[in-house]
């Protein structure tokens, strides 16, 4: 280096700007703190007892699961076997009445009599979940594929656009759909100008599914994008040189190789859509109830044991649906062995 750099006592200090000096101060302070006796002693003690470290690490993970997953579920399961004495009073006495009500009785709610309300609504939720997943897959695969294959300096920006909606609170996005789909909303108005008579789409199945598709699309795009990107581009080229046109290349090479991403996306979107609460509450009408809304209402009615039983049945059915999916697509492959 040239001689001017050697002027100060620490080599380059004289040339350092204020910002650098400040940075250096904080860096020094941090170093001093980290090297202080209490910190060093603690670290050394933990390092000397590596069994504690290992147990601690595993324990932390297990503890986390117990506190945030196992305990709440166990509470709900317990709750579902207790008696409700009406008006929100829970009697701590074992009963199967809640399950009997959920699975066999016509539930009276808001004076609606539509057979077994719970099972009907559960079935409707699964149906909506299936439709949303299907639409998201078809609509999401194209941008995911494009993002995975494109070589462009705008790619990072495009990926940002995919996750950008996450920055807008869910409720605001659904309200935005109300403005678009409502009977004096943007879409119905445009359609009537074009001569197509309609009463708007709000409070319909279409509205619920549209809202869910828009909200859940990133959960499909991102895993599919990831698996497209990991695919070696020369595989597609080699398929083409061997005589496979675009369509055959897609189903012989691209589709099977992106299956892990598709499965991950399908699973995520299906689980999230079946359990969605806000979309049917804001965009759906009384006939577009989904299971989360029903459970919420039952909790509020207030009949906690009955709501608990509804939750447990929902959990079991969803688990069954995932296992069924697992039989067709090995999830071990999706999430690694």
């Amino acid at each position: 280096m040239s001689s001017e750099h050697e002027s100060g006592p620490f080599g380059v200090t004289d040339l350092v700007s204020d910002g650098e000096a400040r940075e250096r101060f904080w860096f020094g302070l941090r170093a001093t703190l980290l090297r202080s006796n209490p910190v060093l002693k603690t670290v050394r003690w933990v390092l000397d007892h590596d069994r504690i470290l290992v147990t601690g690490e595993a324990g932390l993970g297990i503890g986390w699961m117990v506190i945030f997953l196992v305990a709440p579920i166990l509470y709900i399961v317990t709750l579902s076997f207790w008696k409700s004495a009406g008006a929100g009073v829970i009697v701590h006495q074992f009963t199967l009445a809640n399950y009997q009500a959920v699975l066999t009785k016509d539930v009276d709610l808001l004076s609606l009599h539509v057979g077994n309300l719970y099972l009907n609504i559960l079935w409707q939720s699964l149906k909506y979940g299936f439709l949303v997943t299907l639409v998201t897959l078809v609509v999401g695969y194209v941008p995911a594929y494009y993002l995975g294959r494109v070589v462009s300096r705008w790619k990072a920006l495009l990926l940002l656009f995919v996750v950008l909606p996450f920055w807008v609170p869910l409720i605001i996005r659904y309200y935005a759909w109300i403005l678009v789909l409502g009977n004096k909303g943007m879409l119905p108005t445009m359609l009537s100008v074009a001569g197509i008579q309609n009463d708007g789409f709000l409070y319909t199945e279409v509205a619920v599914i549209t809202g869910l598709v828009q909200v859940l699309l990133p959960y499909m795009i991102l895993p599919v994008y990831n698996s497209v990107e990991q695919m070696d581009a020369s595989l597609i080229e080699s398929a083409k040189t061997m005589g496979a046109g675009p369509v055959r290349t897609f189903y012989e090479v691209t589709l099977p190789l992106t299956l892990p991403g598709i499965s991950a996306g399908v699973l995520l979107v299906f689980i999230l859509s079946v359990g969605s609460f806000m979309a049917p509450a804001l965009l759906g009408g009384p006939s577009n109830f989904m299971v989360a809304n029903l459970i919420d209402m039952t909790f509020g009615s207030p009949n906690w044991p009955l709501a608990g039983a509804m939750g447990v049945v929902y959990l079991v059915v969803l688990f069954g649906a995932i296992s069924l999916f697992n039989r067709f697509v090995s999830l071990d492959e999706v999430f690694g062995e």
Partner: protein, 366 residues
């Protein structure tokens, strides 16, 4: 057919970058041609245009008399071997090799027979039900070769097929490729940056420089008659002396800018006062302790000695500061020499390779 593959004035631009510019060459039926050059010279782009994976910006490509310039790869009848094999990881070896046949609607019974034959040809019988990932790199490349040949394409294209293999395997595969190509006589275009691969495999070598075709010819022609400084530099190992042609005692000599004079033999392509660069192939120079009295002898000092087993490299410096690299094969008296020794280097005048000093390519008189 002498011009089975024709590349006519082909140029490829990617935005502002010109990868290939006005390249012309033909390949005869059954011929093995290498595209040789350093990375970024346009050899892979040229191959990809032959495959249909890129479309030329200008010019046209003909295969078997048919213009294929704008044809997509799947409508051409070409087999291609990729650098990293490009085997389908979700298909078995048999399914991989059978893929081009399946795409051509060959019924599965016949397909199985032909796949077995192709695997036999690359010495991998009985691997049909294995996953490509279970095979070694060399075996994977054999599968890729079988897959590119199983449908008997018009042309075989190979893009640095050996670069992912280690040295020993590379040599084995090189011999394999040569054997198979001779056996079935398929027209082959092979891309490499490795002189050894290009020379050992090819009937003809095409050297590309910076998107341009620099020189083409048999390996012997390329090595013994480089037409430009680039080819002289890229092929083989030489010392380079730049200077001006003159006449001394009725013989052509090259006087370098530093004042060294060497006899360059009979050089009908060069006139008095022409600027020229001489390439002195390292293996053609001789090193001696005592003067041999040869008219083309230069005094030099050894700067470094590299003993490499089959040959020994001497890095020498003339008094003028110009460097000479000398390699001696089967040299056993290496201990007799040390760095700093003053020695004599003999330059056989018939073995100096001259190229024009102004950067132009030399028009070969032959």
């Amino acid at each position: 057919m002498d011009n089975y593959v024709e590349v006519n004035g082909v140029t490829k631009r990617f935005g502002d970058i010109t990868a290939v510019e006005d390249v012309n060459f033909t390949v005869a039926e059954g011929e093995f041609v290498s595209l040789l050059g350093p990375s970024g010279c346009g050899k892979t782009t040229t191959l990809r245009m032959l495959a249909g994976l890129e479309t030329p910006t200008e010019g046209d490509i003909r295969i078997g008399g048919e213009t294929v310039t704008d044809q997509p790869p799947y409508e051409r009848d070409i087999g291609m071997v990729f650098q990293h094999y490009a085997l389908f990881p979700h298909k078995t070896v048999g399914e991989n090799v059978g893929f081009p046949l399946k795409m051509r609607g060959v019924p599965s019974s016949e397909r199985e027979k032909r796949v077995a034959e192709a695997l036999e040809m690359v010495h991998l019988p009985g691997t049909m039900d294995r996953s490509p990932e279970e095979l070694s790199g060399g075996q994977q490349q054999r599968v890729a070769l079988a897959r590119a040949l199983v449908f008997e394409p018009d042309v075989l294209l190979m893009d640095e097929p050996l670069s992912a293999l280690d040295r020993v395997l590379r040599q084995q595969m090189r011999i394999e490729i040569e054997r198979i190509q001779r056996e079935i006589g398929i027209t082959t275009i092979y891309v490499t940056h490795d002189q050894l691969e290009a020379f050992s495999l090819s009937d003809r070598v095409i050297v590309l420089e910076n998107g341009h075709l620099s020189q083409q010819g048999s390996p012997l022609e390329i090595y013994e008659q480089p037409r430009s400084e680039f080819v002289g530099d890229f092929i083989g190992q030489s010392s380079k002396l730049a200077g001006t042609i003159g006449v001394q005692d009725g013989e052509s000599v090259l006087t370098t800018d530093q004042g060294t004079t060497i006899r360059v033999g009979d050089q009908p392509d060069f006139q008095d006062r022409d600027a020229a660069t001489a390439f002195l192939r390292a293996e053609k120079l001789q090193i001696t302790k005592e003067s041999t009295g040869d008219a083309n002898e230069l005094e030099a000092t050894i700067k470094a000695i590299n003993y490499l087993g089959e040959k020994t490299m001497f890095f020498c410096e003339l008094e003028t500061g110009e460097e000479l690299i000398v390699s001696e094969y089967g040299f056993t008296s290496v201990d007799a020499y040390a760095s700093g020794d003053d020695i004599y280097v003999t330059v056989p005048s018939a073995d100096t390779l001259l190229v024009p000093g102004d950067g132009r390519a030399r028009e070969l008189s032959a």
